[in-house]
């Protein structure tokens, strides 16, 4: 296909094979261009972009403490992004990681409050199980609605996010509120035995290794098993999958169960690994950032930790410049969206070779 603009011709030539270097180049260029465009926004708010970005980089990656805090932010992003990616691969546009995370936090709090007397080797696995099942069940509801009633999953998952956040508010302000906490409503502190240990001297809790393990497991599941193959076929073409005799309904339920469960573990990590309580604002929108994290990693579970680390840094650095320059954290959300814009725009290079030439 050829587009003509005056004396210039732009040809879109379909690629036969996809060069490997693009998988690294596209995300890199997207992030750089997004930061450049973001600097225009910063200037318009009267902030010197170079100083602001340097401060952002320092708070995010400058020293070992900054790095550890960036990893703390990357943990929930990683889990939520893996939960999102696996459903996207099945062609199920689940934007519900935020709600699944909230439900996971709620379930984890319930499990630890209810069985607070048990020792750590019982209560932590039990909490994980409860969290996974609760988040998975919550995640399956939109798949059920989609297959049985034809309801668009983007909208049901989004609406359910609002419901989940309000459900957390209800419990934190209502039945589970710790009377000892005055200013910031939260639930009572978790018993020692229910807390996920952290690496000495940091706030990096061991959920990190659970997340990395899940990344490897998902990679294996997607590339080496029949289930993984079926998911990809469904994601490619649902009708073709049906003709091939694949049970789409069963696979979608399974994939949303796994995806919802993994995203819910992010909520458990925040409650049992980081805060040791369920506070009102458990997530600053990790579930939405996760969509960008997953897409930047091209839905590849083993690439997601790197992508999550980058966005954890952006978020962590955003808090840093918020304090120094009084730049609202909303800036970070805008930059995240810019990254997504440019990843999407540059994705055309995956499919097409673009040749620009003068017209004769």
């Amino acid at each position: 296909m050829v587009v003509r603009l005056g004396s210039i011709e732009i040809e879109f030539r379909k690629r036969g094979t996809r060069p490997r270097y693009l998988a690294y180049l596209v995300p890199f260029v997207a992030v750089v261009v997004a930061l450049l465009v973001g600097s225009v926004v910063l200037v318009s708010a009267g902030v010197d972009p170079l100083t602001a970005y340097l401060a952002l980089f320092n708070t995010a990656f400058g020293n070992s403490y900054s790095l550890s805090e960036t990893i703390v932010k990357a943990i929930p992003l990683m889990l939520a992004a893996m939960g999102t990616a696996i459903t996207f691969l099945a062609g199920f546009w689940n934007i519900g990681a935020e709600g699944q995370l909230q439900i996971g936090a709620l379930a984890a709090t319930w499990a630890t409050l209810t069985f607070s007397g048990a020792p750590a080797f019982v209560i932590i696995p039990w909490t994980m199980l409860v969290t996974f099942v609760a988040g998975g069940a919550w995640g399956m509801i939109p798949a059920f609605f989609k297959v049985k009633l034809g309801a668009d999953e983007i909208l049901t998952t989004l609406m359910m996010n609002y419901v989940a956040i309000l459900a957390v508010f209800y419990f934190v302000y209502g039945p589970w509120r710790d009377p000892a906490a005055y200013g910031n409503p939260r639930t009572p502190l978790l018993p020692e035995s229910a807390r996920i240990p952290a690496i000495l001297g940091t706030r990096i809790h061991l959920t990190l290794f659970v997340a990395l393990g899940i990344a490897v497991l998902l990679y294996w599941l997607l590339t080496r098993t029949k289930f993984g193959l079926e998911i990809r076929i469904i994601g490619g073409n649902k009708d073709a999958a049906k003709y091939a005799g694949i049970n789409v309904f069963k696979n979608l339920l399974l994939v949303t169960l796994i995806g919802g469960g993994i995203a819910a573990l992010a909520g458990m990590g925040e409650v049992a690994g980081l805060h040791y309580t369920l506070p009102k604002g458990i997530s600053p929108g990790y579930g939405y950032t996760a969509v960008v994290v997953a897409w930047l990693a091209r839905l590849n579970p083993v690439a997601i930790p790197a992508s999550a680390f980058l966005f954890g840094g952006l978020l962590n650095g955003g808090y840093g410049i918020q304090m120094v320059f009084a730049v609202p954290i909303a800036l970070v959300n805008a930059i995240q969206a810019l990254v997504l814009f440019f990843v999407l725009a540059l994705s055309i290079f995956y499919e097409y070779n673009i040749v620009v030439r003068r017209r004769r």
Binding site: F145, L149, L155, Y170, A330, N333, A334, Q336, A337, L344
Partner: protein
């Protein structure tokens, strides 16, 4: 007394429904041409922000309304370039517009927080506004609400009674065939997405310049998503969108009113109502659509590439 409450409730429902109606008519155009735009929330919130910013600078609510409308249009062009020209995934491109709009407006609007301004006045339409009950409910509103009334028949006529409307529907159903008939698929889609952006921006102006007359971060509060649901509810017909918009306007109003009354239900549960209602409506409408074999424009989600099938 009871009549006053009911009239007041219905009148507020109309006001709340205005932004939904404008947004939905715009989305009907975009989707009819085959482009789903999930960026409504972002376009609307940027409209609200830029409208209020212009209002504080110029003190002229009309200039503010025009600026908001145009900013909504510009936001929609980002989606158009990504999804039409660059063939990016429509779902993610729209989501990115929403994320960008919410982020950028929160960032740029921080100095406007707590500022109030004189916005668009309420204009009672002579004669019509004096009809008992109907007058106060329908004809004592701000000008943008009247624009939303007028936009319904215009949109319907354009879509179903003009050659341009036929073009739009053809492009949405089968861009390949439309192209072979000499229709410019890309241009048609750009126009429809842009119209959607303009109307979403106008809806944003309604929120900040006509209704609340102030700026609150994230003041669209999910209205952009409800617009998408109303678009499905409308079966892509502007006239049916009216019913959806005022139904949702009524439910939102009801949830605020019942909160004020304090009838023993926790506030969080009442606040969930509009979202649960939205899910319920979506389920019913989706099933109805399946039964009546009505579906979204066939080419939706699919980028059109000339010469490839």
């Amino acid at each position: 007394m009871v009549q006053d409450i009911i009239v007041g409730f219905l009148s507020t429902s109309i006001a709340v429904g205005t932004s939904l109606l404008l947004g939905a008519i715009g989305e009907v155009f975009a989707e009819r041409s085959g482009v789903m735009n999930l960026g409504v929330e972002g376009m609307m919130v940027m409209g609200a922000l830029s409208g209020f910013l212009t209002l504080t600078l110029t003190k002229d609510p009309w200039v503010a309304t025009v600026v908001a409308t145009l900013v909504g249009g510009v936001m929609s062009l980002i989606h158009a370039v990504l999804s039409i020209t660059l063939r990016a995934n429509q779902i993610l491109s729209g989501l990115a517009v929403t994320m960008f709009g919410l982020g950028a407006s929160g960032f740029l609007g921080q100095r406007l927080l707590g500022v109030s301004a004189k916005g668009l006045p309420v204009v009672a339409i002579p004669l019509l506004s004096e009809i008992p009950y109907v007058g106060p409910i329908l004809f004592q509103h701000d000008p943008i609400t009247y624009i939303s009334y007028v936009s319904v028949p215009i949109a319907w006529i354009v879509l179903f009674k003009t050659e341009f409307g036929l073009t739009v529907r053809a492009v949405g159903e089968d861009p390949g065939v439309a192209d072979s008939l000499g229709i410019n698929v890309y241009r048609t889609r750009y126009i429809c997405v842009f119209v959607g952006g303009l109307l979403a921006g106008l809806a944003g102006a309604f929120l900040s310049v006509a209704y609340a007359r102030m700026w609150v971060e994230g003041m669209t509060a999910g209205r952009g998503w409800i617009v998408i649901v109303i678009t499905i509810f409308s079966m892509w017909n502007p006239v049916r969108a009216v019913v959806g918009a005022f139904l949702f306007g009524g439910v939102s109003t009801l949830s605020y009113v019942s909160q004020g009354l304090g009838i023993g239900i926790p506030a969080e549960v009442l606040l969930m109502m509009p979202y649960l209602f939205t899910i319920a409506v979506l389920l019913i409408v989706s099933q109805e659509a399946v039964r009546k074999r009505i579906s979204a424009p066939t080419s939706m989600y699919k980028p059109y590439v000339r010469g490839e099938r």
